[in-house]
């Protein structure tokens, strides 16, 4: 059953590409600043965070300059939050497709997860510039970064399958998503390092899959930063669990989408 749907996804890979391509194209077609938004968003958030949390509140950043410290979490976070809000609505915003054409419905949240990547790459460009500015030389651990990016995509896909499918039946989900994202920002070590929390809270934090992914991504960029394997391992496991739960719920409800959307 499972392999069958996976092979079907593979057969529809071109459509996945075209749906992602459409999302990207449409996003920038009428935006005056175009792709610059992918830089503006993390850049300005970084400035605000640096001012309020880094300077005024004095949040520690483990010896890394605070702007860089927050930016290297903000780039993946921006990808995650923007994509999640899109992917969570991807089914209801494509209801015209769902009621008229057959294709594996999971392509829609998957296309959103994929379609967020160009923005992520542009944001990463900003990150590279900042690292040059602060003269941070990454080590071999940088090669692990794509793994965390992949984890991020898997997590977005898993969560958005769950949310998008629920969204078809319960339109409240649409309003819940921005709220969820807002909460998620604060329970993830973006503004603060994971070590900022007392030890026992760190274990609870690890249950937030995004915590390990973002701390892991951050650790890849700075050679001297210790990778918290416990945190990363727990998050990876939770990410997979979310993927499986999301996929199961999606499969279970998928058949009724066209009837109730």
């Amino acid at each position: 059953m499972k392999t069958e749907s996976l092979s079907e996804l593979w057969r529809f890979r071109e459509l996945l590409y075209f749906l992602a391509w459409r999302d990207v194209k449409v996003r920038y077609k009428q935006a005056v600043l175009g792709i610059a938004w992918a830089i503006i968003q993390p850049l300005f958030t970084m400035l605000i965070f640096t001012l309020f949390f880094g300077r005024l509140a004095g949040v520690p950043s483990d010896g890394i300059p605070y702007p860089l410290f927050s930016l290297c979490a903000l780039v993946p976070w921006t990808y995650f939050s923007v994509t999640l809000s899109q992917a969570g609505n991807s089914l209801i915003s494509n209801s015209n497709l769902i009621t008229k054409v057959y294709f594996p419905r999971a392509l829609l949240p998957a296309a959103s997860a994929l379609g967020g990547m160009p923005d992520f790459l542009v944001g990463s460009g900003l990150l590279v510039v900042m690292m040059f500015y602060y003269r941070v030389k990454p080590g071999w651990s940088l090669l692990l970064a794509p793994l965390f990016v992949l984890g991020l995509m898997v997590l977005v896909f898993g969560v958005s399958m769950l949310l998008a499918a629920m969204n078809v039946r319960y339109r409240d989900v649409k309003y819940a998503i921005p709220f969820l994202i807002q909460i998620w920002l604060f329970v993830t070590p973006i503004i603060y390092p994971a070590t900022f929390l007392p030890k026992r809270f760190q274990q609870i934090l690890a249950l937030n899959p995004l915590a390990g992914l973002i701390e892991g991504f951050r650790a890849c960029l700075f050679p001297n930063r210790q990778m918290d394997l416990m945190l990363v391992g727990t998050s990876a496991a939770v990410t997979l669990l979310v993927l499986v739960v999301g996929a199961l719920y999606f499969r279970k409800t998928e058949r009724t989408f066209a009837d109730i959307i």
Binding site: L15, R22, K100, V101, Y102, R169
Partner: protein
């Protein structure tokens, strides 16, 4: 979009024995919709409230259940072209959606063999902001084309749509007609084994409809299995060998297209009877020595014909009863539109027929019409019997019935073009043919209706430069 070539699992043995393979097998298919399900619990809040209060109060109302399809079974052979007809809401579209895997049956099975493309809409997934070219890629891909396929056919698609000049214009600047052309052009270049089409010929201007029908003809000759839902009976009759009539979620009739269409059309005519009793008409004029008693519409074989379609050969039979013998009566009729415009008047007098005497008793007189050239609408008949009566100067009225009978004309494929002309095109039509001697046709290959009685050529022509 392609659906996995579903090799029949359990029925494979039986199928192999039959000479013609089935492309589609539908077994005992039912689809239930719960109308209430939509309004109930659409908000998570209500779900939660219901969850907590569940033990205190029962669910407010039972959901209303509608069976959009009930126990539908049929097989469609490879390369068969089948029309699906029926009233709105009869379940046709649901059937197509189930066959296209868009929605799932409540019970029953569907086996589909081969690559399926379903066109339930023209231009599915078009995006306003994207250009014509981009939308061709997107739409093609949504309909199951490979990227390379689209690339190879891009020029042909643009040419078919006649939109080469606008290829890089966002389609939000397109007119609705241009969008439609683009959408159909992509659809016409699909290359599936099985094509499922829902009522897309009902839109677009006449010239483009013609193009679409020709494209459909090509599809048929290309050896594809086609399933085609339409309200355009002429198109169904033209394109399909077989028709399935769905009524109230069930198959009412399945057989040769023209038989099924005839049966289907006859249900519309319940307001019009082939036989009309005229004895009870109250407001009638005339002295009454001889009166009409009935009016029948018969086909050329003398059988009652409840449905009259444009161009049909019919016979009007007028029954009368004479109380006494009447000398030189003239039977006449006038045909009006429903708005009261006189279309034509005719009668035995106009034909110079003198009827010396009608004896007391019952009788009838027939009017044969080779081709009733009325376009679809409701028409009214006024009947009269007049004559010269001894001792009275001028014509004498024996019987006069104003608008006593109505004739409902149904549309037909009168020009053999696949188009049903309706009342928008006027009241009457004439036997005719178009000739275009100095005109070079743009796509001469598409203009292929030669052997018909009423020739018509497409309007898609260009003057030679």
């Amino acid at each position: 979009m392609p659906i996995s070539s579903d090799e029949e699992s359990c029925t494979a043995g039986a199928a192999r024995k039959s000479p013609m393979k089935d492309a589609i097998i539908v077994e005992d298919l039912s689809k239930k919709y719960e109308l209430g399900a939509l309004s109930h619990e659409t908000m998570l809040r209500e779900r939660l409230v219901n969850f907590f209060l569940g033990s205190f109060r029962k669910r407010a109302a039972k959901n209303e259940i509608i069976w959009a399809l009930k126990n539908v079974s049929f097989r469609i052979g490879e390369r068969e072209v089948v029309g699906i007809i029926g009233r709105n809401g009869a379940g046709k579209s649901t059937l197509l959606k189930v066959l296209s895997k868009i929605t799932y049956p409540t019970s029953g099975h569907v086996h589909v063999r081969g690559r399926v493309a379903s066109l339930l809409e023209v231009g599915t997934g078009f995006h306003e902001e994207l250009t014509g070219r981009e939308n061709i890629y997107l739409n093609g891909s949504i309909l199951g084309m490979k990227r390379k396929e689209v690339e190879a056919k891009l020029d042909a698609i643009l040419n078919f749509a006649g939109l080469e000049r606008f290829v890089d214009t966002p389609i939000k600047r397109y007119s609705s007609g241009m969008r439609l052309r683009l959408g159909f052009a992509v659809a016409a270049h699909l290359d599936p084994d099985i094509l499922i089409i829902d009522e897309i010929l009902a839109v677009g201007d006449a010239g483009f409809q013609k193009k679409c029908l020709n494209a459909m003809e090509d599809l048929r000759s290309g050896g594809r299995t086609v399933l085609f839902v339409s309200h355009n009976m002429a198109a169904v009759e033209n394109l399909c060998t077989r028709a399935i009539w769905i009524d109230d979620g069930q198959i009412r009739q399945d057989g040769p297209a023209h038989e099924v269409i005839e049966a289907y059309m006859s249900t519309f005519a319940s307001s019009q009877q082939a036989t009309m009793d005229l004895t009870q008409v109250e407001s009638r004029r005339g002295s009454g020595e001889i009166r009409y008693t009935g009016f029948e519409i018969l086909d050329k074989n003398g059988q009652p014909q409840p449905v009259v379609r444009s161009g049909d050969s019919v016979m009007f039979r007028f029954h009368f009863r004479a109380k006494e013998s009447v000398r030189f009566p003239c039977f006449g009729l006038r045909l009006f539109t429903e708005l009261g415009t006189l279309i034509t008047e005719t009668g035995t007098w106009h034909h110079g027929i003198g009827i010396p005497e009608v004896f007391a008793g019952d009788g009838y007189i027939d009017l044969e019409i080779n081709s009733l050239n009325l376009l679809p609408a409701r028409y009214l008949l006024t009947l009269n019997i007049s004559g010269e009566k001894a001792g009275i100067e001028g014509p004498h009225m024996y019987d006069g019935l104003d608008h006593c009978a109505k004739i409902e004309m149904e549309g037909a494929n009168i020009y053999m073009s696949g188009k049903t002309l309706d009342s928008h095109y006027g009241i009457v039509f004439f036997p005719q043919r178009w000739r275009l001697p100095v005109v070079r046709t743009k796509q001469s290959a598409l203009l292929t209706n030669d052997s018909h009685v009423f020739d018509s050529a497409s309007s898609e022509t260009e003057l030679a430069k």
